[in-house]
Amino acid sequence: MQIILNGIIIGGIYALIALGFNLIYSSVRFYHMLYGILAVLGVYFLRFFQMTFHWPFALMVFLASFLIGLIGMASWQWFYRPLAITKKASSLVMLVLSFGALIVVQNLIALVWKNNTYSISITETIKSGYQFFGLSITFNQLVILITTFISVILLELFLGRTKWGMAIRAIGDNPELTTTIGLKTNQIILIVFFIGSFMSSISASLIALEIGVRPTYGLMLVMKAIIASIIGGIGSIRGAMFGGLLLGITENMGIYFFGAQWQEVTAFTLLTIFLLFRPQGLFQKYQLAK
């Protein structure tokens, strides 16, 4: 049970990171690889705030994520959009472009903050764990669980109950149609990039609480988002959530049975199984071939 609980905790973070990734993918239909490194950059901003200002932790996470949200918006407006919309670049071109940008930002981060692993702690005094029904959970893990839970609920409410949330779902469903009903699609995509990037930074901050973050983790994070998205069904918000959870639990089982060095192997084995037997994922929306 403890392995499953640990899996749910890490899976919750994967779910969160996959949710943001999927939200952006649904709207622009290309793999936004830069997403992973923006998440990592959020942790470096958070660490900078922690060392400089000593404000409440939640406020600093919010501010760092807000900044990442703005950078995410800028990345669409001035980096992707000129190619994707004006030049009508293919999704493959956008993927390569985005991957290149990830490498550049990753190296810039290493240049400024060095290539070390940084972990974040809320307070040095609260490190001890809690016991529930024979299961143990640390304070950081509790924060991760609660943050993930609240974020998913807020996102679900936003997408399901608000006018702008509905517009985001509409763009993901049928972008051509949204233009004909008078929606300013670029405005909606900017909102999507803000929310997605904001969520990526929150999830990377949660990872920093648990295992720490280094510049090269950007690629790892976006890969996890992609795997969780494919498992859940690319383009599906609910799928991303369940895909993330399943990935987290499977990885933890892998670590328990085969050792920590098998974590990535377990993740990619799960991906391969899905690609072979259920390529459309748990919650089918778009076939991978499309």
């Binding site: 006018k163 509905m166 469903d173 051509e176 149609l177 233009t179 004909t180 009903i181 008078g182 929606l183």
Partner: protein
Amino acid sequence: MSQSLLQVRGLSVQFGHNKIIHGVDFEVRDGEILILMGPNGAGKTVLLKAIFGLFEKLSGTVEFDGKIIHPSPVAMVKAGMSFVGQGKRVFSSMTIEENLRMGAFLWTDKKMINQRIDELVDFFPILKKKFRTLAYNMSGGEQQILSLARALMMNPKLLICDEPSIGLAPKIVQQVFEKIEEVNKVFGTSIVIVEHNLKSLLKVAHRGYIIAQGKMVMEGSVETLADSKNLEKVFFGELV
């Protein structure tokens, strides 16, 4: 019925070096159902999309409801024009209710939106029955009705339907056209229909244009246009 609602003068559209529409004049009168027909590749869809602002025009003017407008979907929707395109016509992962709400995205008054939804589900009873169903689970004909209803949400003065019969069984096509005629009569909406399926529209449409190779080649009553000799000439390229 004689007052002009939409006046298009000298409209040209070019993609790269290819001119698709060559200085076309086009008029829709208040309260009429107008059919735009022509062979495949004649430029029907391009013309209507350029009028709606989905394609950039090269030259020409678009005057709608007495005002010259630079076409853009947002400007056209605000001015009172609605467009039902070909292909995937609905938001399939959303419920009928959500699809209808999306049709009035530019409206801010929730009461007005709810009132309009009530009016439209009364007008299209099939939508009432399946109100909370995902559009994905509807048949092709039902989806077409939903797309019509969504396009009517903001009570447009002009409704443009691009090949509404595409992919539908003949019996369903007849029902869709009957509904389009009813929309025209009940709401007074002017309607432009791009259609190959002329026979189904004979009883419905008031006037029509024939377009071929990006040029308007005929204008007149539906009966005149439906004359088999004229149609043959258009489809064999003799009228261009």
